[in-house]
Symmetry: C2
Amino acid sequence: MPTIKDVATMTGVSIATVSRVLNNQGGYSEETREKIESAAREINYYRNKMAASLKKSSARIIGLIMPNAPTLFYGDIVEGIETVASRNNYSVIITHAGEDGTNLMDCVSLMAERRVEGLIIASISLDEAVENQIQNLAFPVVLVSTKSNSGIPYIKVDDQTAAYDATTYLIKHGHRAVAIAGPNMQDTIAGLPRVAGYRQAMLDHNLPVESEWIHSGTFSFESGIEAMHAFFRLVHRPDAVFAVSDDTALGIMNTAGDLGLRVPDDIAVIGYDNTRVAEMANPALTVVSQPFFQMGAKAVQKLTTAIDSGQVIESEILKHRIFERRSV
Amino acid sequence: MPTIKDVATMTGVSIATVSRVLNNQGGYSEETREKIESAAREINYYRNKMAASLKKSSARIIGLIMPNAPTLFYGDIVEGIETVASRNNYSVIITHAGEDGTNLMDCVSLMAERRVEGLIIASISLDEAVENQIQNLAFPVVLVSTKSNSGIPYIKVDDQTAAYDATTYLIKHGHRAVAIAGPNMQDTIAGLPRVAGYRQAMLDHNLPVESEWIHSGTFSFESGIEAMHAFFRLVHRPDAVFAVSDDTALGIMNTAGDLGLRVPDDIAVIGYDNTRVAEMANPALTVVSQPFFQMGAKAVQKLTTAIDSGQVIESEILKHRIFERRSV
DNA sequence: AGCATCAACGTAAACGTTTACGTTGATGGA
DNA sequence: TCCATCAACGTAAACGTTTACGTTGATGCT
């Protein structure tokens, strides 16, 4: 590959001068700039950012670690990140941490070795080892749609009050037997808090909650199908359900239809996330939304200002919002 | 940041020895290996891949350029790429090319400057300038879900026969008035060929096609809504529609329902892509599928073998497949 | 004429690795 | 005892930039 040296000898100047014009730093005549630029074009020269980064010890790269399952909001969050990253002249390098973040430590190490200047970890819960590792990193880290209990800054919505608001919304619309579908009871970030919010809402409205109304599971479509079947078999059947994801909500809605129930007349359902499927569902799905694009964008903003200023990043709770559609 | 030099002086050996143990190259005693490794751990040393890449002139990075709209298959294609990339010790760096690939050239230049060893461009159609630029690149490039007419290798399904098969499928199921919704008539890659396939299928079965049955548009949900309304107003109303994307198909299905038509009884619909929404639709959407994950995976495989062997990459037509569900 | 100033360059060190090549001391065999 | 061999290192150059510092010649001013 051609180097700066090649274009220097071609034009009969020093490499310093070439470097100067390539970076618009001034200190050269208009004539030589033209000579250099045309020479560079001629031999198809691309500057070597690895070398430049090494010298400047700044690679202008932001790392992104994602969970392995490409959920529907995957694209939005990446897009949010990449948009403001590239606006600030950063590139983003992406890795998957394996099923439930197994090789997260390796991913973090890789990012450190690549000398990223900031790191985003999305939707993965960290164990103690990783939290320790992150504490000792030389660059800022921010969590997105997940949190930490050891001071690593995060950006997320408040799952508990979001769940509270969702079930309250159902209650306000006249439902008294509301169920929750899909929470993972091991998940202290997106599982338990949502159940807690659900419970609290029921309690605050003096509504009893039967244990069968809490149907744990995953965020998947299938999980919704399974939950709905379980609900259907109950003597005291719920008349509304709060699903932990849009996919799960769709599972609920579809099997409700299969079982002869009409949404929202016989059973109302509210989703969680507001992914693109929500508006495409039939009936369109009412949801509490997480602003994924904005989360990604905010994360990069925080990182870049932290990089520039050296200040620590503050966590931020983004506000969720209920999008009213047709499913309740 | 600590360097190899720091751990060398800490342990009283030369940087060469440190480098050797860090790369398991042999030529050192077990004792010094342990000393070096513990020293490295102690000062939180991460090797600098930028420096190593510079020296070895191999960055082990694969570039990925994506369209700006985060479609539903976005995640699958990225996941396919990243999975086999990381398996081969490559990192992937991702960029968006702006609305319909406006700054594609800049993206490609950026990739070249970052010294990626292979480049994937997904779902963006290239103009002549970019094709020229790509021809002169020093590393292999492969297109995914798009194609080129100047010899740049691509991986995609055959849009025309896929469209042919989709409409034939509808015809075989007893439909005679089948329409097509959403094709972009400017799009020579995913627009025109699909219309051609549709037309050919109709022709081969001696079915007339009315001009209003071809409702051009975009790949969006809204496009489906609009198309369905248009179809509904027709005197000779279609009894089946082939939609150019799953989103569009959903738009068709939903507004069909709103207009009092039942799917598939009054109107059948077949989608295109087989994104995650297809199985979650109600009724579940019959589609012709594009194997997005596999496309990404294949792309990286081709790149890595091209990188290792220096051979040129051959284009490949992946076979589509019809997933029968409930919408026809 | 003499001097300062400045535009327009050139020189060379440095960034943190990798690696070809050289060195050393111990070991074994004849 | 002498030599070859080899494990276990060390030396130093190189990768392609950036940049502090130095140089040169022209220009303007007094």
